[in-house]
Amino acid sequence: MSGKIKNWLKIRIGIEELIKTQLTGYMVPGNINIFYTLGFVALAAFISQIITGFFLLIYYVPHSDHAFRSVQDIMNKAPYGWLFRQMHAVGSNLMAAIVILHMFSVFFMGSYKKPREMTWVAGLLMLLITFTFCLSGYLLSWSQLSYWATTIVTAMPTAFPYVGEFITRMLRGGEAVSGTTLNRFFALHVTFLPLFLLTFLATHLFLVRRIGISSPPFGKSGEGRQSWTEYRHESHTEGYPFYPFFVQKEMLMTAAYFAVMFFIISFLPALFLPEDANTPADPLKTPAHIKPEWYFLAPYQMLKIIPNKLLGISIQIILVMLFILWPFFDTKKEENILKRHLLLALFILSVIAWIALTIWGRYS
């Protein structure tokens, strides 16, 4: 039976040739490591978010009078609703973590360098879209935490003279966060953002395939060390086949990802759903000691310690832009960060600063 299907597909789409060029004949570097699977894990996480998101849409009501109740009903009344909601909520946090880890590992491996500048930029834009996904999805539960986190973030543009107030009004659909904001964020979360993410994802994957997977700068030296004066595909003829060698690694890491997710759902169910996330939004009461999600704690703390709002937000925008455009500033040929002490020190300091601000923000 399988032979018949195979033959049917062979005649119509040339399946054997496709498998050979895209899987068994597609080579990855011999010294590739486990960190190179993080991109695939992020993709698996995104697919999981799409599927669980579709299920949640069946019960969710995007209206300020019903949103909180409908989410509570998903958790308490809909059979296994808690499972899909928890998978979506925990998954959003884990996906953010995986995308951040992927970015760190790509930076550490120097894989953003020529000719992969566009791959890096597309990846960083996907990171920003992931954060926007998290933020817009956050409001949909219409809880105290989500309401006030959205109030803070949508107030950020007011730091800019002339256009700031207008941008904030446009984001909110009025003076304050309201049912109109909920409608806007819902539309953003379920239509615009998936479209944007899929567009950048397609670009990112096309570039990875077109240029070839980058090889770690440590150990072996291969064709990646040659200078790039014209386009060529980095084919890694001395490496291993993508399938089954690398796919096995990717499956292992994806399994680990879901193991962590289900561990949190089973043993730490309130980790990402604190009390304020289960209290209905009250536009007349800001909860005491409100904190954003862990991935926004560093910018939150930075805003707290920088006395000028415009300065605080401008510094953050400049840092993000600098990071996105980093491959165009760092044009040195050496990819091995261990041989570039200044860059290594900058990398370590940046990571320490980010962790320190996150911890400070959490306990301040």
Binding site: T158, R169, P287, N308
Partner: protein, 136 residues
């Protein structure tokens, strides 16, 4: 300019015009419609706010507070923190208005004492008419 260049320029101009003609309606579509009722007065009883205490109210859809400051009388302020829009809370003991989000501190006249807020809290016009306090 030859015919080819003219046509390319013309197409570019046409494309830009089409794009701009869609951008304007889009911005208007996304911008919230105005016309929210403003200037409505709020009336509360003096007896509701003894000296040193405060009452939360809503003026023109803005969460606000009326404080009875000892020796100074009543004052009506917006509760919306000028930093990033969280609502300040009245601390009776410290005699301060505190923002729970980024630790902004205001005095009872709405002036910034410490923290990141860039300007004082919005003040509302307040009149005491007999036993009533009229705000707005």
């Amino acid at each position: 300019m030859n015919r080819r260049r003219f046509l390319i320029s013309f197409l570019g101009l046409l494309g830009t015009t089409v794009l701009v003609s869609f951008v304007y309606p889009l911005v208007r579509f996304l911008a919230p419609p105005g016309g929210e009722a403003k200037g409505k007065k709020v009336v509360i009883k003096r007896s509701e706010i003894p000296a040193g205490s405060a009452k939360d109210i809503v003026v023109d859809n803005i969460p606000s507070i009326v404080i009875n400051v000892p020796d100074k009388g009543f004052i009506a302020l917006s509760r919306v923190c000028t930093h990033l829009g969280c609502l300040v809370e009245y601390d009776k003991i410290k005699k301060r208005l505190l923002c729970p989000c980024h630790a902004g501190v205001y005095d009872l006249e709405g002036k910034v004492v410490s923290g990141p807020p860039p300007k004082p809290l919005q003040k509302f016009v307040l009149r005491v008419v007999g036993e009533d306090i009229v705000i707005g």
